[in-house]
C-alpha cells in the first residue's frame, strides 16, 4: 500500500524540488527557445533592413539615371527643333532668292520684249512712213504733175506725216 500525502498539505521538500525544476526549465527555455528564436528573428530583421536599404539605394540610382535620360532627351528635342528651324530659315531664304531671281528675269524678259516691240514698231513706223510718203508723193505727183519741186514737197509731206502719225492715228 503506497503512502499518500494528505489532500491539502505543505511539504517543504516538494516545494524546494519544484522550485529547482522550474528554475532548470526556465534556463532551458531561456537558452534554447528564446535565445535561439530571438537571435534568428534579429538576424532576419537585420537581413530585411539590409535588403530594404539596398533596394532604396538601387531605386535612387535608377531615378538618377532616369532624370539623366530625361534631360538628354529634352536636349535632343531642343536640338532637333533648332535644326528644323535653321533648315526652314534656309529654305525660306533660298525660295526668296529664287523668287527674286525669277522676278528679275521676268522683268528683264518683259523689258526686252518691250524693247523688241518698240524696235519693231519703229521699224514698222519708218517703213510705213516711207511708204506713205512714197504714196503721197505719187499722189501729189499725179495731182500737181511736175509743178512742184520734188525735194521741197518731200520735206513738207514728211513733216506732215510725222505730225499726223505721232499725234493722231498712232495713238488710236
Amino acid at each position: 500500500m503506497p503512502e499518500f500525502y494528505s489532500f491539502l498539505s505543505i511539504d517543504y521538500g516538494t516545494i524546494v524540488l519544484v522550485l529547482i525544476n522550474t528554475f532548470i526549465l526556465f534556463l532551458a527555455i531561456k537558452h534554447f527557445l528564446f535565445g535561439r528564436v530571438n537571435k534568428m528573428l534579429e538576424e532576419r530583421q537585420a537581413d530585411v533592413t539590409g535588403t530594404y536599404s539596398e533596394a532604396n539605394k538601387t531605386m535612387e540610382q535608377a531615378k538618377e539615371l532616369e532624370s539623366n535620360y530625361n534631360s538628354l532627351l529634352s536636349n535632343a528635342k531642343d536640338e532637333s527643333a533648332e535644326i528644323v528651324k535653321n533648315a526652314t530659315k534656309k529654305a525660306q531664304l533660298r525660295s526668296d532668292e529664287i523668287i527674286t531671281d525669277a522676278k528679275a528675269e521676268a522683268s528683264n524678259l518683259i523689258s526686252n520684249a518691250n524693247a523688241d516691240i518698240e524696235h519693231e514698231k519703229q521699224k514698222a513706223m519708218s517703213s510705213m512712213k516711207d511708204e506713205i510718203s512714197g504714196i503721197a508723193m505719187m499722189m501729189a505727183e499725179k495731182i500737181i504733175q511736175k509743178e512742184i519741186n520734188e525735194k521741197d514737197h518731200e520735206a513738207l509731206i514728211n513733216d506732215f506725216i510725222e505730225n499726223v502719225g505721232d499725234d493722231v492715228w498712232q495713238q488710236k
Binding site: 494528505s6 491539502l8 521538500g13 516538494t14 516545494i15 519544484v18 522550485l19 525544476n21 526556465f26
Partner: protein, 239 residues
C-alpha cells in the same frame, strides 16, 4: 463489485531517499520538464533564417506571442520576464494536461502552485525595491496612513496565497469531481447488475474536456497574467 467509498488523497509518496520523501508531484514535474525540453529542442532544431519550416513557425509564434504579451501588460523594459512567463505557462499547462494520460495533474498539488506563487511573491518584492529603493519600498507599506501597515502586509502576503489557492482549487476540484462522478458511475453500473463498469467509458471524458483542457488552460493563463500584472505594476514604465 465497485468501490465502497470515495477516497480522495493528495499525491502519493513515490520513494524515500535519505529520509526525504519524494512526492509523485516531483516525478511528474520531471516528466513534464523532459516533455517540454524535448518539444522545444525539436521545434528549434535546424532553424533557417530564410526558409522557416512548420516547427520553426510554431517556435517563433510562441516566442513572439509571449514577447508581445509581456510587452503589452508589463511595458517595454520588463521584456526580460518573457522567458519566465513562458516557463510557468508551459509548466502549468502541461502539468494540467498530463491528466489526459491518466496521471495525477501536477497542478493539483498545492505545493507546486505554491512554489510558483512564491516566485511571483519574490519577484514583486524585488521589482518594488528596484523601483522605489529599499527605503521607499519599506515606506510604501505605511501608505496611505501608518495605521494600515498590517493590512498592507496582509494584502501583500495574500497575493501569492490567493494565486496558488486559485490554481490549486480549480484543478483539484476537477480531480475530486471527476473521481466522484467516476465513483457514482461505477456504483450505478454495479447497481443494475453489471460486473463491468459500463457507464465509465465515455461520460467522464466530457468532464475531462472541461476540467483538464479548459480549466488547465484558463488557470495557466490567469496565473501568468496575474504575475505579469503584479510585477508590471510594481515596476512600471518610466514616464
Amino acid at each position: 463489485m465497485g468501490l465502497k467509498e470515495v477516497n480522495v488523497t493528495g499525491p502519493k509518496v513515490s520513494f524515500e531517499i535519505f529520509g526525504l520523501k519524494i512526492s509523485e508531484t516531483v516525478i511528474l514535474s520531471w516528466i513534464v520538464m523532459a516533455l517540454i525540453i524535448g518539444i522545444i529542442l525539436f521545434l528549434t532544431h535546424n532553424m533557417s533564417k530564410t526558409n522557416p519550416g512548420k516547427k520553426q513557425v510554431v517556435a517563433e509564434w510562441i516566442v513572439t506571442t509571449f514577447n508581445k504579451l509581456v510587452k503589452d501588460s508589463m511595458g517595454e523594459r520588463n521584456i526580460g520576464y518573457a522567458p519566465y512567463m513562458t516557463t510557468v505557462f508551459m509548466f502549468s499547462i502541461f502539468g494540467s494536461l498530463i491528466s489526459l494520460l491518466g496521471l495525477r495533474p501536477l497542478t493539483g498539488d498545492f505545493n507546486a502552485t505554491f512554489s510558483w506563487a512564491l516566485i511571483t511573491f519574490v519577484m514583486i518584492q524585488v521589482a518594488k525595491i528596484k523601483n522605489d529603493g529599499v527605503l521607499g519600498y519599506l515606506k510604501g507599506f505605511t501608505e496611505p496612513i501608518k495605521l494600515l501597515t498590517p493590512l498592507n502586509i496582509i494584502s501583500e502576503v495574500a497575493k501569492p496565497v490567493s494565486m496558488s489557492f486559485r490554481h490549486f482549487g480549480n484543478i483539484a476540484s476537477g480531480i475530486v469531481i471527476t473521481q466522484l462522478v467516476y465513483f457514482a458511475l461505477t456504483s450505478l453500473s454495479s447497481a443494475i447488475g453489471l460486473d463491468f463498469p459500463l457507464f465509465t467509458i465515455a461520460i467522464p471524458s466530457v468532464l475531462s474536456i472541461y476540467f483538464d483542457l479548459f480549466c488547465g488552460f484558463m488557470q495557466a493563463f490567469i496565473f501568468v497574467m496575474l504575475t505579469m500584472a503584479y510585477v508590471g505594476s510594481a515596476y512600471p514604465e518610466e514616464n
